[in-house]
Amino acid sequence: MLKKINKASICFENNISILETASIVGNKEGEGPLAKYFDVIEEDPYFGQDSWEKAESRMVKNTIGLLLKKSSIKKDEIDFIIAGDLLNQSTASTFGVKDYSIPFLGIYSACSNIGEAMILGSVLLDGYFATNVIANASSHFCSAEKQFRSPLELGGQRPQTSTWTITGDGCMLLSKNNKPPFIKRATIGKIIDLGVSDPFNMGAAMAPAAADTIFTHLSDFNLTPDYYDLIITGDLGYVGKKLVIELLKQKGIDVSNNFSDCGIKIFDKEKQDTHSGGSGCGCSAVTFAGFLYDELKNKNINKLLFVPTGALLSSISVLQKESIPGIAHAICIENKI
């Protein structure tokens, strides 16, 4: 029997438990409002390495190691690792994962990587193809700046709409288990491009995709927004958040009461000078692995709609004057079976 619902949603039959999470962040994230939820705050931006790219790979390796240590599951019991990052050819993930000798699936959907990893992991578990899957996503401020923007020491100003790439890695162990919380449903987003071409306003570029995925999810499962305790997007920041609320309002859906964004939660806008908020694969990944997972465990949130968002641009596509397509995947996580 087909487990797909309408055009883009899927529903899982087994109990796909998020058994454990691990998060490692950089110094700046460790000074933010969510500091107490992270497992490790690394003071050294190089993570003991000699380049930003190697630093990010080391962060990936450390976080997976930490996850294995925190959970009681041994390395040999992990069936697959699904991981993604922002660097060209996903080298942060591949170099970080290679020493573990665990079958690996590398993915890319920009900053919504963790969402894609969680959905694919759940599908593997629900289809009886695996018993334990690790989902991982990472980003590093310095390696992202080097690849997408300008050298770190170049003096200049960032526009008010720009976001700050998170240095962080969020990792989770998905398993068929009866321990809450569970991944119950998911909606796979489609690529939406409404013509935003400013790479310093990625919140605006991704907002239509986020609004579309939330709308599709709610209508596919016949839900109202207040069904969820919290609907949280990945890295839209302040600009993107306002746009999503407005776009959904135009479709007759009011999410303003229980809607937030990981990029807004992770930084203190006034004290940390981060403009529109945090961004990057790590943003949604560490906010979930740290803060949101804790809230679910403590039953402060029982029904969560987690919507990681991604801007599908490259440094080349921007120079060739292409607009920025956005994507968002929605994952419903609940404490009740």
Binding site: P151, G155, Q160, N201, V239
Partner: protein, 157 residues
Amino acid sequence: MELICIASTEYKKKKFKELVDAYSPKSNIVSNCTRAFFVGGSICVIGEIIKKLIINMGVTTDNAPLVTSMILILTSVVLTSLGYYDVLGKFGGAGSSIPITGFANSVCAPAIEFKKEGYILGVGTKIFIICGPVILYGTTASVVIGAIYYIIKKIGE
């Protein structure tokens, strides 16, 4: 049918652009210009002071501007390497990127960033990624202006 579809997408994009413009906070032009004016002005004043000082120390008036530029470039490179110039750049904006110190910063910053890829294929190929256009079009423009100057001078004779 297809035409209607394209028209409606264009309309949607236009409407969304209006929404984005309304919701995106703008940079404060007055405060940015004021800061750029004072930072840029201060760098030039410092240059003038250096020039006067070195002339007093015995450097000829012809050589003084050259030596002043060298001192400013060195200072900027040292500040960039120590991680201070980007702080100044964030505060001063165009005021710190237009003077010769900003140019030095735009050469030094990629040199530091791409050193990890080696001195030939890293530093060597990437050092001008920011200032390359200035060098290319700056020298081209000066050749063109030089030619025009030469022709006008010939006609004048």
